[in-house]
């Protein structure tokens, strides 16, 4: 309706932007495909396209420069870092990386982070799925009040609870115990996970579950054999959210773990910087290696992460 050619308004040059917005996904692409005239930008919008690219490239440099500085800097020695900050290393020093990769403590931290992230995820997704099932498929007195109490947790700064949690964990004897981190992370992950999963369960047509009940399913059977398999995409999304949150958590492990044997990657990175504060190149190498798992996970799970964040952020 508003392709630059057919636009009845003051002329295509004055507002070339509105029509060229064929989204990569969704219904818009089909529309754009149906109208080949949209695909050929007219003159003025090409200039606009270039300035748009310029802006995007500038921001891309802003994002990438620190990462590249770290990656390449890790291959230099400290003298090179000072004398030749921008160029490529000459000669290359892979020792910084290989020494980190050869150190037992680095792998120990990776293992701890993985263990804690997986355990947290299983716990929070399992408990949330059960609670979300109760919230979505049963009517009972106090349901909305309980649900509101859970959603209130979304506005609850974690930092508020850290000190009393430390006191509690000490009372339970859970300091320097991975459970002290896992249980708390799971508890704080409940609100978001329950909200997302309840929305999903509530959307499953009732006929599905009635059919299962008629076939002799108990409520638990409905949950386990019908709803959970159907909710696989939603479960994947909330799992990705839980893994990322656990992987990046620093405050809680900082309070709970005194023993280096239990340190997670963020604790290790901070400690490493303190220990090798003068050895910038080596710290850069450590930081870069510590980034790899998160970035690799992001590359794999990007879609789930983004859909979960946008769904979760907007439903509190």
């Amino acid at each position: 309706m508003s392709s630059p050619v057919s636009n009845p308004a003051p002329g295509p040059a004055s507002h070339p932007a509105p029509s060229r917005r064929a989204d990569g996904r969704g219904p818009d692409r089909r529309r754009a495909d149906g109208r080949p005239d949209r695909r050929r930008p007219a003159g003025p919008s090409r200039a606009k396209g270039i300035s748009l690219h310029l802006l995007a490239v500038t921001l891309a440099v802003f994002i990438l420069a620190p990462l590249l500085f770290g990656l390449i800097g890790g291959f230099k020695d400290n003298a090179q870092l000072a004398a030749n900050p921008f160029g490529l290393p000459a000669p290359w020093h892979p020792e910084n990386y290989t020494e980190v990769l050869g150190s037992a403590s680095f792998w120990r931290q990776v293992g701890n982070s993985v263990l804690i992230a997986l355990a947290t995820t299983v716990l929070v997704v399992g408990l949330s799925a059960m609670a979300a099932f109760a919230f979505a498929r049963f009517a009972f007195r106090g349901r909305e009040v309980l649900f509101t109490i859970f959603t209130a947790g979304l506005m609850f700064p974690f930092a508020v609870a850290i000190l009393p949690l430390f006191v509690l964990m000490r009372a339970f004897g859970l300091l320097d115990n991975p459970l002290g981190v896992i249980l708390v992370q799971a508890a704080f992950g409940l609100p978001m996970t329950i909200i997302i999963l309840r929305g999903f369960f509530a959307a499953v047509p009732r006929e599905v579950e009635e059919a299962a009940v008629i076939d002799g399913c108990t409520p638990f059977g409905v949950f386990w054999r019908v709803l959970l398999p159907m909710a696989r995409p939603a479960l994947a999304t909330v799992s990705v959210l839980a893994i990322v949150a656990s992987w990046n958590n620093f405050f809680l492990p900082l309070a709970v773990f005194n023993d280096p044997d239990w340190w997670t990657i963020p604790l290790g990175v901070q400690q490493f910087q303190g220990q090798y504060s003068t050895d910038v190149a080596r710290t850069l190498a450590y930081v870069v290696l510590a980034m790899v798992p998160a970035l690799a996970f992001y590359a794999v799970a990007e879609r789930h992460l983004i859909s979960g964040l946008t769904a979760g952020a907007t439903k509190g």
């Binding site: 009972f140 700064p157 930092a159 329950i194 929305g199 959307a203």
Partner: protein, 334 residues
């Protein structure tokens, strides 16, 4: 949306199908079924409820309790009751005033610079352009890095001598602008904000992109037919419809600032001379470094009250029209 309990449904069906058969669902029967239904609900709900109550709700109560004592945290529970002394001491403290000031500055910078930047970028990336998917992937990537890793990386970049920032300034002949960015009280907050922007603007961009995609393009087209310029379309069509997303982004930004800790702790530790300190950092200093648990609990309580007041007021006055989620990417079938 009130379904009867699961177990009741098939009976109801058969009853309806078989017509009114008096006497079949006797009162005792019904009660037993009801009980079984409640037990099922409890079974599904209790584990989450216990964990949540014990580790999310109880800590607030504990903080509120311990904030009334002078307590070094050693042994058992606190005994030296001092009423609200911790709070009066806190409200009189210059460090706490500094925390509030720093928080307000960061919020103002975020709302004034970071969110508009993210919004503009989302609108640009919403247009058809080469490499759009790559840009989106790239801009969001810092969000998945932990604040600690981001902080350590940037502490090396912003360090006075070999840091990348000063090296760049030297290379382009702006030596007089060189700073010890994180050690200078006048630059530490802007530097902190720069790092926050690096890490978080992609997240807000993604939120805005999702919200933008929820707006039917016909609206913009209709405005264009009516002669609206690109700016007017943005001002009178896109921005109002993005309102809910903008309000949520601002909400997340403020709540995030109230509890800002990791990044500050790693970059500056709150220094120099408290110039970049936040409430969470002050709380950690007193609670874990100086073992003044009662006083630190008072800070926790104030943080809690501030965020609750803000959240409730915001929900009541700013977001009251946004009854549902602003974007509907997935699972929003409520």
């Amino acid at each position: 949306m009130t379904h009867p309990a699961l177990t009741e449904r098939p009976e109801k069906r058969t009853r309806a199908g078989a017509g009114p058969r008096p006497g079949l669902p006797r009162a005792a029967d019904r009660r037993r079924r009801r009980l079984r239904g409640l037990a099922t609900i409890a079974l599904f709900l209790l584990p989450a409820l216990v964990l949540y109550g014990l580790l999310v709700l109880a800590p607030i109560a504990i903080a509120a309790y311990t904030s009334l004592f002078r307590w070094n945290g050693l042994g058992g529970w606190p005994e030296d009751f001092i009423g609200f002394d911790n709070f009066t001491r806190l409200f009189a403290s210059d460090v706490f005033h500094g925390d509030l000031r720093n928080g307000l500055i960061i919020v103002a910078l975020s709302l004034g610079i970071q969110l508009p930047l993210a919004l503009g970028l989302a609108l640009l990336l919403n247009q058809r352009m080469r490499g759009r998917a790559v840009y989106r992937l790239l801009f969001f990537a810092p969000y998945v890095l932990s604040e600690v890793i981001t902080g350590v990386l940037f502490s090396l970049i912003l360090s006075p001598e070999a840091g990348l920032a000063n090296q760049i300034l030297r290379a382009v002949g702006l030596e007089e602008l060189e700073r010890a960015w994180l050690a200078d009280p006048s630059t530490v907050l802007p530097a902190l904000f720069l790092v926050m922007t690096w890490k978080y603007f992609g997240f807000y961009m993604i939120l805005f992109l999702a919200g933008r995609q929820g707006i039917p393009r016909e609206l913009g087209e209709a405005a264009a037919i009516d002669g609206a310029t690109a700016w007017k379309q943005f001002r009178y069509v896109t921005l109002p419809l993005l309102g809910p997303t903008v309000r949520i982004a601002a909400f997340l930004s403020v709540i995030g600032t109230i509890q800002l800790f990791d990044l500050v702790w790693v970059l500056t530790g709150g220094g120099p001379d408290h110039a970049s300190e936040t409430m969470a950092v002050t709380m950690f200093q007193f609670g874990f470094k100086r073992t003044q648990i009662g006083y630190a609990s008072a800070i926790s309580v104030v943080m809690f009250i501030l965020s609750m007041i803000f959240a409730l007021a915001y929900l009541r006055f700013v977001m009251r029209r946004d009854t549902r989620g602003a974007v509907t990417t997935m699972g929003d079938h409520r």
